[in-house]
Symmetry: C2
Subunit: 494 residues, 2 copies
Amino acid sequence: MNSNNKSKSNVFGDMPAEEFKEHGYKMIDWIAEYLTDIEKFPVIPDIKPGDIKNKLPKNPPRTSDSFEKILADIDEKIIPGVTHWNHPNFMAYFNSTSSGPGILAEMLSAALNTNGMLWKTSPSTTELERVTVDWMRQMLGLSESFWGIIYDTASVSSMHAIAAAREEVTEYSFRQKGLSGGEKIPKLRLYASEHAHSSIEKVAILLGIGIDGVRKIPVDNEFKMIPEKLSEAIIEDRKNGWRPFCAVATVGTTSTTSIDPVDKIADICEKERLWLHVDAAHAGVTAMLPEMKYIFKGVDRADSLVVNPHKWMFTPIDLSLFYIRKPDVLKRTFSLVPEYLKTAEDNSVENLMDYGIQLGRRFRALKLWFIIRYFGVNGIIERLREHIRLGQLFASWIDKHPDFERMALTPFSTICFRAHPAKINSEAEIDKLNENLLQRINETGKLFISHTKLNGKHVLRLSVSGIRTEERHVREAWELIQIKLKELFMQFSC
Amino acid sequence: MNSNNKSKSNVFGDMPAEEFKEHGYKMIDWIAEYLTDIEKFPVIPDIKPGDIKNKLPKNPPRTSDSFEKILADIDEKIIPGVTHWNHPNFMAYFNSTSSGPGILAEMLSAALNTNGMLWKTSPSTTELERVTVDWMRQMLGLSESFWGIIYDTASVSSMHAIAAAREEVTEYSFRQKGLSGGEKIPKLRLYASEHAHSSIEKVAILLGIGIDGVRKIPVDNEFKMIPEKLSEAIIEDRKNGWRPFCAVATVGTTSTTSIDPVDKIADICEKERLWLHVDAAHAGVTAMLPEMKYIFKGVDRADSLVVNPHKWMFTPIDLSLFYIRKPDVLKRTFSLVPEYLKTAEDNSVENLMDYGIQLGRRFRALKLWFIIRYFGVNGIIERLREHIRLGQLFASWIDKHPDFERMALTPFSTICFRAHPAKINSEAEIDKLNENLLQRINETGKLFISHTKLNGKHVLRLSVSGIRTEERHVREAWELIQIKLKELFMQFSC
C-alpha cells in the first residue's frame, strides 16, 4: 500500500487507503457488535413521525465531517429510529434478514462498482450471474428450459413477466404500436387470485392494463385460487370482448402463504393460451427441500417465475430472481440498442440490458455466490427446514390453546391466528380484542408481528424466516402473546 | 462480543461474529489494496465470452466452502473478467465510480437491511431519505416546490415521471381503466429529442405508449432540441388525433452532453399543457457549481427531474434521485395499500411505497449521507470542477492538433472527437480509421473510451468523471491516442 493517495496530486481523489482501512475496520467492528447485540434493541423503535428528521441538520454541510462523527451519529441519530429487520424477534410481514457473507459481498460489489449493462462492461458480472442463476435453478429443481436473470424486486420481476406476456399477444405489437387510442387494440385481461400480491395490480396500472383489466379469481376456504372460477372467468370475458392474456398463480400468498393449484391453472393456461406467471417470491426458496418439492408441482409448466433470495435466503435486499422459458420474448419486448452501446461482441454474448427496463445493473450475483458457497446448499436447506419446524411448532401451540385459534393452513412458517376466548362471541369484539392485542405486543418492542384480514376477520400473523431466529425466540414470542392476552382479557372482564 | 454465536443452539445461525470480523478485515484490506493498485489492471479484460463461466463449477456446492477459498477465487476467477469501472483510465460511456464513504455506507445498509416500504418498517430509512434528498435539492439550487425520492436507476425514475404524466391526462383514468381496447381512449404522444436516452423509448414500450407514440424532435447543429420543431409537432399531432401529454428535455445528452433549451421547452409545455420531464441523469450534479448554474435554466419550471448521484457523485451504483412538483399525482397513480400493509401512522407519515412500483426499498440514503458529509458540499464541487477542467483541457488539445477534430461542443467533461488527418478525405475512410483507432486504443488495456455516431459519422467519446482520474491520466490518454493514430496512419500510408 503506497501513500500516493495522500499526496497533493490527489487532493481531489477518494478517501486515502490507510484511512479507508482504519474506518473500514471500525465499521466491521460496529456491524459485528450490532448483530451480536441486536436483541438489546427494541424491534420497532418507540418514536414519533419527525423525531429522526428533527435531529438532523436541515442544510447540507459545506465542509468535510470526520468519519468518527458520522459513525457516532449512526448510534445517536439513526439507530434510535431503525426497525431492526435483522432482529430475531422481527416476525412481521415476510422478514428479510441479511447474513455475514451477504453483507461482505455487498461491500465488494460496491467496491468493484461494475455496471453489467453489456457483457463487455464487465464480463464477470454477466457470467457470474449466468452461473449463480443456474445454480439456483438447479437448487429449486427447475428444468433447463428456464433462463434466469437477476432484477431488484419481485415487483420488477413480475413487471417483466407481464410485459413479456403482453407482447406474446401475437395479433398485435404492443411494443411498436402501444395500447392507446385505437379501436382494434385487444382489451387485455389479466387474472390473479384475490390473495395475489398488490404488486400485480401495480404492474397492471403501469403497463396500461389498468385496475379494471385485472380480474380477481375467488379462493376456496384454504385461500387457494379456484381453477374452475378461472376457467369460467376466461370464457365469460372472451364473450364480452376481453382478450385474456395472462394468469398469475401464487406459491405462498402474502396473507396466509396459501399455494395456488399451479398444475390445474397450467392446464387452463395451456388450453386457453394464456401466459402463466408464478409468484413464489417468499416461499419459492423452500422448493430446495426434498420434503417441500410438492409446492412447485406444475411450476415447470409456467412461462415465468419469481423467487426472491432477499426474502428468505439471507441475502441483503435487493435481489430478485426471475426465470422465463422464452427469454427471446423479453428481449423482443425491451431490446433497444443505441449506437453508443453497440459492441463488437453483440452477436456472441448476452447483454443483460436487452432483457429489461433498467440499463444500470449492479453486481448482485456476488451476493448469491458468497451465500451459496459459504453456507452450502445443505446449510441453506437446514436453515429453511428449521424455520419451517419452528413455524409448525408455533402452530401446534395455537391449536392446543383454548383461547387461540388458527385462521389458515400453515404450509411454511407463517402462522395466521387470533385470540378467541370462549367468553367472547361477537365478531366485532373479537376483532377489537385482536387489534388491541397486536398493539400491546408490538409496543413492548420485544416482538414485531403483523396482521391481515381473512373473510373480514382481523387476524394476527407471525412469520419465522430470520437467520437469527431460534426456538427460544419463538417460545418467548408465544409467552409474550399469552401474557398480553391475559392482561387484555382482565381488562375486558372488568 | 460474546461467543453465543458459536454455541450449539445457534448451529443454524449466521456467520459467527469473530469470523465476520476476521473476514471483514481481510475484505477491507482487499478493497484498500484493489483501489490503491487498480492501475495495475487492464481497464477492460482481455478475455473471450465464456472464459469466466468456464472457470466456475456448473453445479452449486452442497457443503460449505471456506471464506478464504471464496476470497482467493475473487482474485483468480472473478477479477480477470472485470471491467474496472473504478479505474482512473475508464473514460467510456458515463463512468460511475464509487468512493470509500460510499462503499462503507453500502455495507452498513446491507447490515441494517431495512426495507423502507412503510415509515413504520424503519422510520430512519424514510426520514434520512427525506433529509438527504432535500440536501441534494438545495445543492442543485432547486426550489422548495420539488419533492424528491430515491429510486434505483434513471430508467426507473423516468418511468415514474412518464407514468405520472400519463395519469395527469385528466380526461381519462389510465390507472383505473387502462389503455387497451377502447375507442374513447386518448392516443398518447410523448416528445423527446433525437438525442434523448434510449430509456425514454423503453419506458414508452413499458407504459403502453409504444415506439410509435414517441415522436423524436430534430436537433440543431449543437445537438439541442429545436423548440420550434416541438411546437410544430404538437400542433400537427393534435390535428391528427394524437393526445400530446409529455415532453422530455435532456440536460447532458448521452452522445454529446448537449443541453436542450429547457426554458423554451417549458414555455411550450406550459402553453400546450404538457408534462415536462428533465433527464439530467449524468450532468445534473454539476448544477451545484456556481459557474454551471446556467445548465438548469428553466428546470425549476419542469414537472419532474432525474439526477443520478451514482453516475458522477461517487456513489456506488445504484442511486437515482427523482424530483417531482406534484408528488400527489405519483401517489394517485401507484398507491395501493393491502390490509397487511396498513399501519396506525398511515395518515401522519409518508409511506414511500405509495410513490412507485417497487415495494422493497433499501436504505440507499445512507450512501448520500456518508458522501455529502465526508467530502462536504465544497469537496464534491471541487472534484466536479476539476473533472470539467480536465475535460476542457483535453478538448483544447484536440482543437490544437492538426490530425484531430472536435465533433461537438463540450459543456462538461465529455469530449466527442475524431482523428481526421489532412490526407484522408473520404468520410468512409475516416470512419474506418476511427473504428480501428478505437479498437487499437481499447485493446491496450490502458484506456477505455467509447464511441457514438453524429450525423452518420463515427465519433470517439472520452468522458472524465471518475474520482480517481487525475490530470496525469488524461495526459497519458491523449498520448496513447496520438501514438495509436500514428501507428495506424503509418499502416494506412503504406
